[in-house]
Each structure stands twice: as structure tokens, then as C-alpha cells.
């Protein structure tokens, strides 16, 4: 679960073991060794990012491995973020419910 219990962060072998557990838990497979290596690298960066988020958080949140740990932040944003709802939402003072996107 949370990465907090590991000091100071997984070693390469541990990282690979953690990634293998992740693949089993979330049923992930990659089409070729290059893709596997790329996702492993992203996974490692996300673990480091999670550790930093936990350091910075002022509440009780715990960050660590999640279903999205093999995605870059960009991929995560594209797959799960509602781009239309992104900050450029239409001016709600105008006729709420318009379909025009991003019209200022």
C-alpha cells in the first residue's frame, strides 16, 4: 500500500518487483520490451512524485500506487480529465448551457 513505509525509495530490483505486483493487481500487460521499460520508468517517476506529494500535503492524504501509476500526467489528464471542463469553461454569466467551447 502507501509508499511511506519504504526508506528511501525502492531499489531497482524492488522497483521491478513493485511494478510486477502492480501489473498483477491492475491486470496490466505491455506489447513489447520497449513499452515495458517505458512504463516501468513512468511507474518509478510516479512513485517519486507520490512521495513528494505526501511530503507537501498538509492533510492526512496518502499517495502511492494507484490504477493510474503507469500513466504520465499528460496521459492521465487526457484519459480522465474532462478537457471541456478545463479552466476554459464558458463564461457562466452568459446563457448557462451554451455549447460553445472556450468562447470568451
Amino acid at each position: 500500500q502507501g509508499i511511506r513505509g519504504q526508506d528511501p525509495g525502492p531499489q531497482p530490483l524492488e522497483l521491478k518487483e513493485a511494478f510486477t505486483l502492480y501489473q498483477i493487481q491492475y491486470n496490466r500487460s505491455y506489447s513489447n520490451p520497449a513499452e515495458y521499460a517505458r512504463r516501468l520508468n513512468i511507474f518509478a517517476r510516479n512513485l517519486a512524485q507520490a512521495q513528494q506529494l505526501q511530503e507537501e500535503d498538509l492533510g492526512t492524504a496518502e499517495f502511492g500506487v494507484t490504477p493510474f501509476s503507469d500513466l504520465t500526467a499528460e496521459e492521465f489528464g487526457q484519459l480522465y480529465g474532462s478537457q471541456r471542463a478545463a479552466g476554459r469553461a464558458p463564461n457562466v454569466d452568459r446563457k448557462v448551457g451554451s455549447c460553445e467551447r472556450g468562447e470568451s
Binding site: G2, L58, F63, V96
Partner: protein
């Protein structure tokens, strides 16, 4: 405003956590969850409404590339209601011009929708007395989130950049000594304040295996991740002179 509120504890008010999978339809799932909860509270009848109908009948085109909650409410009003999830099940893809609204019986309908004031006290009061509300947030901190109350450090989780829509279903406070379970005292961790932390309980649409069984908690009282910008809710009951008294379970 009561000190705590959790609509999940009220029987048959909050439907099960949905999973949008590869379809960016958080807006439709949040709107559906809002309508279901409002319908259950005001009509005392549990229904699960069709998200797919919102996607197929969406006025703004491809609902799987994002959308707005008000668009969902207008679509519901235009179609005079929504079919059930059972009759019109989720397919995870938007089929524009495949609107089958007329084909199925409506199981819920709305009279109107409103946007609440941009303040957390007002949102909490509405939540406790009327029911769950949809909100737009910045989802930046959610990719690696596992559990607990997120309280963003100043300068993180830009409240102006909103890219996800979820449903507030309650609020509460951590116990003053609640700490992270896996907190290991290490030179790298700053000591956490021990006072209790007020939080919102938010229903997400990434399946029950994410976060706290599909939910997450966000600090309340600091407009964390822009939560106060677009609080929207459908109204299912006609305005009546004598208000029906409802209250959120503590």
C-alpha cells in the same frame, strides 16, 4: 449546518460508484449521481438513471471527450426525464445521433437546476438540507491518491484550472489525532499538525477500486482545487410553499 453529513449512510440515496473507463464522461456520471440522490431524497424512491442517454442525447456532441453538468441537466429537461440504467445501459462510448430517449420509460425527471454561491458554508448547508451537489475540481492530485484528506500545499492544485467533475456527498472532520497510517517517522517527513481537519466527501467515477472505495476526501474551507467555482445541482421537486424537511445523516 450540522458538524458532519454523509448521504452514503442514508439508505438508497447514493448509487454505487461508476467507472467511466476510457470515456471522459465524468460530467454525465456526476449529473446522474446528483439526479439519483435528489430523486431519492425528495421522492423517497431509489432509481439508477441512464448515463448513456446523457451521452447519446448530448446537445454538445461527443460526450466522451468531456462536457458540462448544465448540459446534462438541459438534456434531461429537453427529453422530459431519463430512462433507467437498466433499460439504457452504459456502453462507454458516445453515439451521437443515436439518442434513444423516446424508446424507454422515464424513471426520473427534473424541474430545474441551480448554481449555488461560491462559498463552502453555503454549499455545506445546501448539501445537508437538500442533498448532494456536483462540483468542478482540479484533479492534479488524484492520479497518485490512495486515501486520507487531501489538503493541498499553497500553490499546488490550481483552483482556476478545473478539469474534472465529481459529486459532493458529505462532509466531516478528522479526529484531532488521526494521522497517516503508514506514517513512518523519518527524517524526511515533516511533523503533521494534530488538530482535526475539516473535509468534503466526494464521489468519483473511476470505479470502486480507486481511492477510498471510489471516494476521496478534500480539505474543506480553503477552496481546495477550486471546489467552490461551479457547485451545480438539479431540482427535482416543484417549488412548494411548505418546505419538506430533510436532513443528512451525521
Amino acid at each position: 449546518v450540522p458538524p458532519t453529513c454523509d448521504w452514503r449512510k442514508a439508505p438508497s440515496v447514493i448509487s454505487s460508484v461508476r467507472d467511466q473507463k476510457s470515456c471522459n464522461c465524468c460530467w454525465a456520471m456526476a449529473a446522474a449521481g446528483n439526479i439519483e440522490a435528489q430523486w431519492a431524497i425528495k421522492k423517497r424512491e431509489f432509481v439508477e438513471v441512464s448515463v448513456q442517454e446523457l451521452l447519446d442525447c448530448d446537445r454538445c456532441g461527443n460526450g466522451c471527450s468531456g462536457g458540462y453538468v448544465w448540459d446534462a441537466f438541459i438534456t434531461v429537461m429537453n427529453n422530459s426525464g431519463l430512462a433507467s440504467e437498466k433499460d439504457y445501459p452504459f456502453q462507454g462510448e458516445a453515439r451521437a445521433h443515436k439518442c434513444q430517449a423516446k424508446k424507454y420509460r422515464k424513471v426520473a425527471w427534473i424541474q430545474d437546476y441551480i448554481m449555488l454561491w461560491e462559498n463552502e458554508q453555503g454549499i455545506a448547508q445546501y448539501l445537508a438540507t437538500e442533498g448532494p451537489v456536483t462540483v468542478n475540481i482540479n484533479m492534479q492530485l488524484l492520479q497518485n491518491y490512495q486515501k486520507g484528506v487531501i489538503k493541498p500545499a499553497p500553490g499546488t492544485c490550481d483552483p482556476q484550472h478545473l478539469d474534472h467533475i465529481v459529486l459532493i456527498v458529505g462532509f466531516g472532520k478528522t479526529k484531532s489525532v488521526e494521522r497517516r497510517q503508514t506514517e513512518a517517522v523519518s527524517s524526511r517527513s515533516k511533523p503533521r499538525p494534530r488538530h482535526s481537519t475539516p473535509y468534503w466527501i466526494l464521489k468519483n467515477s473511476w470505479g470502486a477500486h480507486w481511492g477510498e472505495e471510489g471516494y476521496f476526501r478534500l480539505h474543506r474551507g480553503s477552496n481546495a482545487c477550486g471546489i467552490t467555482k461551479y457547485p451545480l445541482t438539479a431540482r427535482v421537486d416543484k417549488p412548494v410553499k411548505k418546505r419538506q424537511v430533510v436532513s443528512c445523516p451525521p
